[in-house]
């Protein structure tokens, strides 16, 4: 990407027990981005070792905290390192690194503060169960935070530094994706959705949210965080 020469672009990859895919994910990202932060969220396998060997910046939680906490740690480090644009990228190999340009371009052109890659509008073999989870999660996000996003749970996002500095996250787990949408609305940030392709393998499906427990968990966590305002 030509923009890399002038702007510091960091990718934050939260990872928990991803030894099978993390190497491949880092290799894919390295084609476009040199600064990759892997947040090893208390993995019990060789995730940290592989990430280090592949040349990523590695920061490790001593035990598993959850997606929200891992993203916050990664964001904190990326901002400290002077990142201008911060990307989030799932470690289970479900995103195509070729889509990075699509999520970064609107920020470079000044058309958006935050960009979310939507898997529902792009090419890919998204299974029906995932489409249902995604729709339900987006619906609950709309009910609780008042902003409609077609794929609120997408892990491929891009943030302008100034936007990420405003976003204050407190979620611990998967509900962070909805909280991000809430913060975008709260701070009146300009959000753009771009179509991306999802890569669904038996591995990535086994790692992701389950139809019932996944949806219930997100709703419960959003409810608790809203109720207690913690």
């Amino acid at each position: 990407m030509t923009s890399n020469k002038t702007l510091k672009i960091f990718a934050v990859v939260p990872a928990y027990n991803e030894e099978k895919k993390i190497g491949q994910v880092i290799e894919g990202l390295k084609k476009y981005i040199s600064d990759i932060i892997v947040v090893n969220d208390g993995s019990l396998d060789k995730t940290a070792q592989i990430a280090k060997e592949k040349g990523a910046v590695l920061v490790s939680h001593c035990f598993n905290l959850g997606l929200g906490a891992a993203l916050r740690t990664g964001f904190c480090l990326a901002l400290e390192k002077g990142a201008d644009i911060i990307l989030t990228f799932d470690a289970d190999g479900q995103h195509n690194p070729d889509d990075l340009e699509k999520v970064i371009t609107p920020i470079l052109k000044g058309q958006a503060d935050v960009v979310i890659g939507t898997r529902l509008k792009g090419k890919g073999n998204m299974p029906l169960s995932r489409k249902i989870i995604s729709f339900l999660a987006s619906l609950f996000t709309y009910i609780f935070y008042g902003k409609w996003v077609s794929d609120s749970q997408s892990g491929l996002r891009a943030f302008k530094r100034q936007a990420l500095e405003k976003i204050k996250l407190s979620s611990q787990k998967m509900e962070v994706s909805s909280e991000i949408i809430g913060q975008i609305k709260k701070h009146n940030l300009c959000l753009k959705e771009v179509p991306i392709s999802g890569i669904y393998t038996s591995y990535s499906l086994s790692k992701g949210q389950k139809l019932f427990s996944g949806s219930v968990r997100i709703v419960w966590d959003v409810l608790i965080s809203k109720l207690f305002k913690i």
Binding site: V59, A69, I230
Partner: protein, 117 residues
């Protein structure tokens, strides 16, 4: 006083004694001590004068004293679940902050060491 009542009174007095000990040991603060003391004193009153629940139940339009106790118990259980969930979330949040800070400090130490080497 029936034998059952007598046993309940003994059990409640034992809990009040434990509560007092916890307060003296500073395991609980003043507010928690008062909350629990009020709870056990109400329980003691109900055991010694069970007819008071019937009177209160009639006043509140519930019907029987036993029903009033069940409603109160349910209310208390919900209150405690709510209170414990909230405390658990606060503890979880604090632990998260510590672990995150440790991770970032550890990263900085390691990168500093690598630069020195």
């Amino acid at each position: 006083m029936f034998l059952g009542q007598f046993l309940f009174v003994l059990v409640i007095l034992f809990f009040i004694y434990r509560l007092w000990r916890n307060f003296l040991n500073k395991s609980i603060n003043k507010v928690q001590f008062i909350e629990w003391l009020v709870f056990w004193l109400i329980a003691l009153g109900i055991v010694i004068w069970p007819e008071t629940t019937s009177f209160l139940a009639r006043v509140l339009g519930i019907g029987r004293g036993a029903d009033l106790i069940i409603y109160l118990a349910l209310f208390l259980i919900f209150y405690f679940i709510f209170s414990f969930t909230r405390r658990l979330k606060i503890i979880e949040k604090n632990i998260t902050k510590i672990v995150q800070q440790m991770a970032l400090d550890d990263y900085k130490k390691k990168s500093f060491k690598e630069k020195e080497d």
